[in-house]
């Protein structure tokens, strides 16, 4: 696996695409060359009081130009600072980090919830098999149009304003979607639902998890999740999300 690099990179564009959701394009250069879907980049804040870099999933990779696209939601001081980034400014980043999705299967179900949707876009693009894409939102949708060129998109909203009323599992059932592989990223309750659904339908599933991180490279053990087997590195039943993850096979982890 390639080594993540830390460097200052140029902001090509940073625009609001939905209330509180931003689309950031970065001139990542060699960082983009090594990146694969499901990996993430950690962005540093300019305010020295906010020490830890913020992990953000890679939404799209353009290996020809070396550009990377990130889509993030403003939830705190760090992401609020990023929202103010202007074209041409530099931002310190480290990446690409973690282990992404393994491309496999003949019939895929790509399931995303809320701000877990962005990393699935590059996956949908690179995955060549037959695929259905299910995106769950609370109310307003974003990024759904970007997915349309890569497969049929099904939407669920909690208030029923768009697509199926309910969650992603409701949308899968309502549309009788079938698959031999599931790829999912979203809030933990959604991932639990997906893991259960995959288990009871005997479908292999890859889930992308998140946890608070410090080092991002596997040294500090801040970011662990529970694993079904004793992990080769930690020698206990937990795995590092920043290193062995963020993408895991559903069977390998306990949610």
């Amino acid at each position: 696996m390639s080594v993540a690099i830390k460097k200052s990179i140029k902001v090509l564009q940073n625009i609001r695409i939905e209330e509180g959701v931003y689309d950031l394009r970065l001139e990542a250069g060699d960082m983009a060359m090594d990146a694969s879907p499901g990996q993430f980049i950690s962005l540093y804040c300019d305010d020295g009081g906010r020490l830890l870099p913020r992990p953000i999933s890679i939404c799209e990779i353009d290996k020809e130009t070396g550009n990377i696209r990130l889509v993030y939601r403003v939830v705190g001081n760090g992401t609020r600072e990023f929202a103010g980034l202007k074209q041409g400014e530099l931002i310190d980043c480290i990446g690409p980090l973690g282990k992404g999705f393994t491309l496999e299967g003949k019939k895929a179900l790509i399931i995303g919830g809320g701000i877990g949707i962005p990393p699935l876009l590059e996956l949908a693009k690179q995955l060549k098999c037959e695929k259905s894409i299910v995106l769950g939102f609370r109310d307003v949708t974003f990024l759904d149009k970007d997915f349309e060129s890569y497969g049929k998109v099904y939407i669920s909203t909690e208030d029923g304003s768009v697509g199926t009323k309910g969650n992603v599992i409701d949308a899968i059932k309502a549309n009788n979607l079938e698959a031999d592989i599931i790829y999912a990223c979203g809030p933990t309750p959604m991932l639990k639902g997906v893991k259960e659904y995959a288990g009871s339908n005997n479908i292999r599933a890859q889930l992308s998890l998140e946890e608070r991180m410090a080092c991002g490279i596997g040294a500090c053990l801040a970011c662990v999740c529970k694993s079904t087997e004793v992990d080769h590195h930690t020698n206990v039943n937990n795995k590092r999300i920043c290193k062995e993850g963020p993408v895991f096979y559903a069977d390998d982890i306990v949610l």
């Binding site: 080594v3 830890l52 946890e211 608070r212 040294a219 500090c220």
Partner: protein
């Protein structure tokens, strides 16, 4: 040195002495890593030439594998971070079989941080490591994140002296006692470690702290309480190193919030023979090497030939 001599780093290095000595062991420079912030060195070896470091200090090692605490294990606070990792580690056997051989491929000294739930467990780990090719053992009696062991041993001078002399009697390697800052008088604790036979002391471990998530109206850390590290704690750490240095004759490894060379120099001037870089590694994986280079630059700029001349120079 004449000003026109200042060229590349190579040239600088020939003219200054960065070597320091603790308990008869010579370190090529006074910079090591703070335990728990550098893994066993493997992850950072992609960013840092471990052979450049005075020593690598490992994550705490216990007799059996430890699970650590539930997540969230960390929380950022302004200018610092709280952690409650809970000393997760694969245990001494895996350390000896996997991590130690890796570290031995580098030309650096190895300091192994030792943890236990009971005095007996500390001694068992020390016994095992005494037969291995490591240079020093750092006894962590100051971890705030575990229920048994750790800090429980480090806050009472009598217990500090007892555990120090017990561990010392089991150890065939020089020992460093790592002190907790969560005490009323650091000088008394430092003296107790010295009286117990410590070859050196290291300080500070993290300061206990808490962060509350006001939206969810709960604690941010699953463990509720964690240890504060990073630049926010540096003034406290420098003060404690100074007080400890005035209280004992054994060498001191100073740490707490070192981000760059100027921070490290404060510790050295306050009385530290060596310094450790911790939280800074998470922010800049090359922090250790940059601290070494920065100290060298400072010495050249100020015409100081031997780093030992800076130790405790502020009195």
């Amino acid at each position: 040195m004449k000003d026109n001599n200042i060229k590349g780093n190579n040239e600088i290095n020939k003219d200054i002495c960065m070597k320091v000595n603790i308990a008869g062991i010579e370190f090529k420079n006074p910079v090591t890593t703070a335990s728990g912030t550098f893994g066993s060195g493997m992850e950072y070896s992609d960013y840092v030439d471990l052979s450049r470091l005075g020593a690598v200090t490992t994550k705490g090692v216990s007799i059996t594998a430890w699970y650590g605490n539930p997540t969230p294990r960390i929380a950022e606070t302004y200018g610092g971070m709280l952690n409650a990792i809970g000393l997760q580690n694969p245990g001494v056997d895996v350390f000896i079989q996997r991590d130690l051989p890796f570290l031995k491929t580098y030309d650096t000294k190895i300091i192994v941080n030792v943890v236990g739930k009971t005095a007996k467990e500390y001694c068992q780990v020390v016994d095992r490591l005494s037969d291995c090719d490591v240079d020093m053992l750092e006894i962590n009696i100051s971890c705030p994140n575990v229920k048994e062991g750790g800090i429980a041993f480090g806050q009472d001078p009598k217990r500090v002296e007892e555990i120090t002399s017990l561990v010392k009697s089991h150890s065939r390697k020089p020992i460093i006692i790592k002190l907790s800052p969560n005490v009323t008088d650091i000088a008394t604790i430092a003296k107790a470690a010295e009286a117990g036979g410590a070859d050196a002391i290291s300080l500070i471990n993290t300061l206990t702290g808490m962060k509350i998530d006001i939206e969810r109206r709960t604690f941010l850390l699953a463990n509720k309480i964690g240890g504060l590290s990073g630049p926010a704690i540096k003034p406290i750490a420098v003060r404690m190193v100074y007080q400890a240095a005035n209280a004992v004759k054994i060498p001191i490894i100073g740490m707490g919030g070192i981000m760059e060379a100027c921070d490290a120099l404060e510790f050295i001037m306050a009385g530290a023979t060596m310094v450790a870089v911790g939280t800074a590694n998470f922010i800049n994986p090359r922090a250790t090497e940059e601290v070494i280079e920065g100290i060298e630059d400072y010495m050249v700029r100020n015409n100081i030939k031997d780093v030992n001349d800076l130790i405790a120079c502020v009195r």
